[in-house]
Symmetry: C2
Subunit: 235 residues, 2 copies
DNA sequence: CAGTGGTCTAGACCACCAC
DNA sequence: TGGTGGTCTAGACCACTGG
């Protein structure tokens, strides 16, 4: 039953990648070339490629081709290290790009979570993060300006955790986390330059101060193939 | 650009489901019927259905058809509640089925994680868990028999956390968690009765006793559309 | 048994990318 | 401009499900 042609193809490339005969970042031959080589139609080739994409072994760049996925980064949201530190420690190069920034009135949901009155100004921050020049994460954050006055005038493409520590003597401490494995919403897929409907990992995070006030609410949209989440629970 | 026919179909069903005009568990019309109704081929219909599946709105049963996905369960691995309690508290009916059970010598990896010598007997347990009769989770667990002698003679389709508490006066405490959003490996997909290559959430968990010994190592394979993970981090 | 989804063929046109 | 992936047609046969 699992002896279809696309499974054969899938296995073929999966073996090549695992044996490192196709290295991270390499471009695969075009769908038509693969089809000719294996005497199957493009439909069949694409079925195999899409499954490999779901496994996280390859990914596509819109109309440019298919590429071998680089290793995933290990991310521990509960550690107090910044994204930049993580990625660097794992031997890759991080980069952060600010896409938008705006002081805006808190909507009902944010206000309720932050325990502030609706309409209080909060800082909205929209960033894209890269590993080795590959965009892998979209962040949309709502930051409590009552606790961090003047933050909107800082350079917000740098590490927020460092900024909080150095300028405000604040640290990330308690947090509520939520994870969901699902297709990325179209806004996030567009920002990442991938086609809508691709699998992703959505993370919601509420950061609290040591006196239990809400510092920041994050919505993160990760490429599913770019991250493994690790958390240590210690009572 | 996002105005293709399959996106139109996708939107159509997505709206029906969100407006609850197609209720949880309902079977969709057959692919051929949908194709006729919208004057498109089955290829196009399937593209739309596969995207809806990636979004977690619908799921398939092998050669039986497409169905509207029921709401996801919220799961907190760090809470000390059992799976059964969770699911019941969220208004659904849990069920656990033991697929295999075996006392076997620890392999190198398990032995290292458990800090025992390779070949020491450990209890391997393989279970399938259901919500409202829908299989949503495969567990493969390795349990430290040094800490839980005689466990292999208990009924292992019941809640392990209750068993540990009542018979051994042990509780789950510290744990290391790892999450990865990726296609389910074929063994898990088969056990869940879904086609290989479907998206899923893989969880690895190492449970420690209060004196920091490894009680149990779990590998969990969830349907991606069946669960949202929530965790509270408190320093 | 009829009907379903699973797999596959052999084409086609389009939008976009790199050269 | 030639080649890429993205979308789509109009069929086909198969394996399996359900009555």
């Amino acid at each position: 039953m699992p002896n279809s042609q696309y499974r054969y193809l899938q296995r073929h490339f999966s073996d090549l990648i695992r044996d490192n005969k196709l290295k991270s970042g390499t471009k695969l031959p075009s769908e038509r070339e693969i089809g000719e080589a294996f005497k199957v139609t493009r439909v069949t080739v694409r079925q195999a490629l899409q499954n490999l994409e779901a496994e996280g072994l390859i990914y596509r760049q819109n109309r440019r081709g298919w590429f071998v996925t680089p290793p995933a980064v290990v991310y521990d949201p509960a550690s107090h290290l910044s994204f930049n530190r993580y990625v660097a420690e794992q031997g890759s190069t991080p980069h952060t790009e600010k896409l938008a920034q705006q002081v805006e009135p808190a909507n009902a949901k944010i206000a309720q979570l932050m325990c502030i009155t609706e309409g209080t100004p909060v800082l909205f921050l929209h960033r894209r993060r890269y590993i080795n020049l590959r965009p892998i994460l979209i962040e949309k954050m709502y930051i409590n300006l009552d606790l961090l006055p003047g933050l909107e005038n800082e350079d917000l493409s740098q590490s927020l955790s460092q900024l909080l520590q150095q300028k405000y003597q604040r640290e990330y401490r308690d947090m509520d986390l939520s994870f969901k494995s699902t297709a990325l919403p179209s806004h996030a897929a567009n920002d990442l330059g991938i086609s809508t409907g691709q699998a992703g990992l959505q993370v919601e995070r509420i950061n609290y101060t040591s006196d239990k006030k809400v510092l920041e609410i994050d919505y993160e949209f990760w490429r599913h193939d770019a991250v493994t989440i690790n958390i240590a629970i210690r009572d």
